[in-house]
């Protein structure tokens, strides 16, 4: 009897020790979770009667200008007479200049090096009619709203209508090259705009269809 009582006490004691260890571990875990005070949590918690503002969705203008402000576009819309190049938009090497028509100097034409498609052996990018945008269409240094204002200004965009701008943005292989920019001279892929070609084309068409509105900011 005494022996069985002793055994029972021993077993009970062992269980309690184990539970205490579990409780201690649980306490330490919860303490380390950095849970905010309960009062704050309750204050922030949504209630059934209130509505939570959804995260603002990117508008077609947002999507379109994410591409227009990317260096794949900006590099060939410089404010000066020198193109930019590379993901860091450095001034084009070799004293390359705009020339009279945006196709380079007479004997240093863009087509001396750039052909109608990417050359992934040399790392020289290429697309049909590779050239600089005219100086009136300089985007360098402008914000996204100013860029689109310039883009729609017939006095600066070569007299293009909105329909022609839409076609230029969604069909011109030189513009769409941005989504297939090939590799650089180290054989590494060039950075692409943050949205896909399909998303960009869809956004441009929707923005035009909705009246080509330029937001205030």
């Amino acid at each position: 009897m005494l022996e069985s009582t002793f055994n029972a006490i021993h077993i009970f004691s062992a269980i309690m020790k184990k539970n205490a260890l579990v409780l201690l571990l649980l306490f330490l875990f919860v303490a380390g979770m950095n849970i905010p005070p309960i009062s704050d949590s309750l204050a922030d918690a949504p209630t059934q009667s209130s509505t939570v503002e959804p995260a603002p969705q990117a508008t077609p203008f947002d999507v379109m200008t994410q591409v227009l402000t990317h260096q794949r576009c900006l590099n060939c819309h410089p404010a000066g007479d020198r193109p930019r190049q590379g993901d860091e938009s450095r001034v084009h090497s070799f004293n390359i200049q705009r020339g009279e028509d945006g196709h380079g100097m007479l004997n240093a034409q863009c087509s001396s090096c750039h052909q109608s498609e990417n050359n992934n052996f040399s790392g020289v990018p290429g697309a049909p009619h590779w050239h600089l945008a005219p100086k009136s269409m300089a985007w360098e240094g402008l914000n996204r709203i100013e860029i689109v204002q310039v883009m729609l200004d017939k006095g600066k965009n070569g007299g293009r209508s909105l329909e022609e701008i839409e076609k230029h943005l969604t069909e011109d292989p030189l513009v769409l090259w941005a989504f297939d920019p090939g590799v650089n001279n180290e054989g590494l892929p060039r950075e692409k705009p943050p949205v896909s070609k399909e998303e960009f084309i869809k956004a441009v068409k929707q923005w035009v269809a909705e009246g080509a509105v330029i937001p205030a900011k």
Partner: protein, 155 residues
């Protein structure tokens, strides 16, 4: 694929991958070694040739784009034994040092003086964009002016 073009006045047909750089075709298939491989990135200009009279970096020019075109290399610059004005000027001014880049410079210059018969120093700076590791630029500048002079006198 089969590609046909004229090179130094001779009709040629080559059967290669269309993406092969024209420089490879010129040197390795056609055996014209005067055009040099420098950087392979269209940066240095050692591989400059003429395609339809325009200076082109042949290391970065897929041969398929040469279909139906007229190509001139340094071997085709002279008129038989009559040196081209650029070649005459290069001799007179003793331009080359190691010489490796010179065919490219000479081809670029020959194309330029067709388009700009009396180039200024600024024209030269803006239109001759090749690279010479020996630094023969000063002698080349003299030779370019001299080449234009010879060409104009011959006209």
């Amino acid at each position: 694929m089969k590609i046909q073009f004229k090179i130094n006045g001779q009709a040629q047909t080559v059967d290669v991958d269309g993406k092969t750089p024209l420089l490879w075709v010129i040197r390795d298939l056609l055996g014209l070694k005067g055009t040099k491989f420098g950087c392979g990135k269209a940066a240095c200009g050692a591989c400059t040739i003429h395609v339809d009279g325009n200076a082109i970096r042949s290391c970065s020019y897929a041969v398929k784009f040469a279909e139906g075109k007229e190509i001139t290399t340094i071997e085709g610059l002279s008129d038989g034994d009559n040196l081209h004005p650029v070649q005459q000027a290069w001799k007179e001014e003793i331009v080359p040092q190691c010489g490796y880049c010179q065919p490219g410079f000479m081809m670029a210059t020959a194309a330029m003086i067709e388009k700009i018969p009396n180039p200024t120093d600024e024209d030269i700076d803006n239109n001759i964009i090749n690279i010479c590791r020996c630094g023969t630029y000063t002698r080349m500048r003299k030779a370019i002016h001299r080449a234009a002079e010879i060409k104009n006198n011959n006209a």
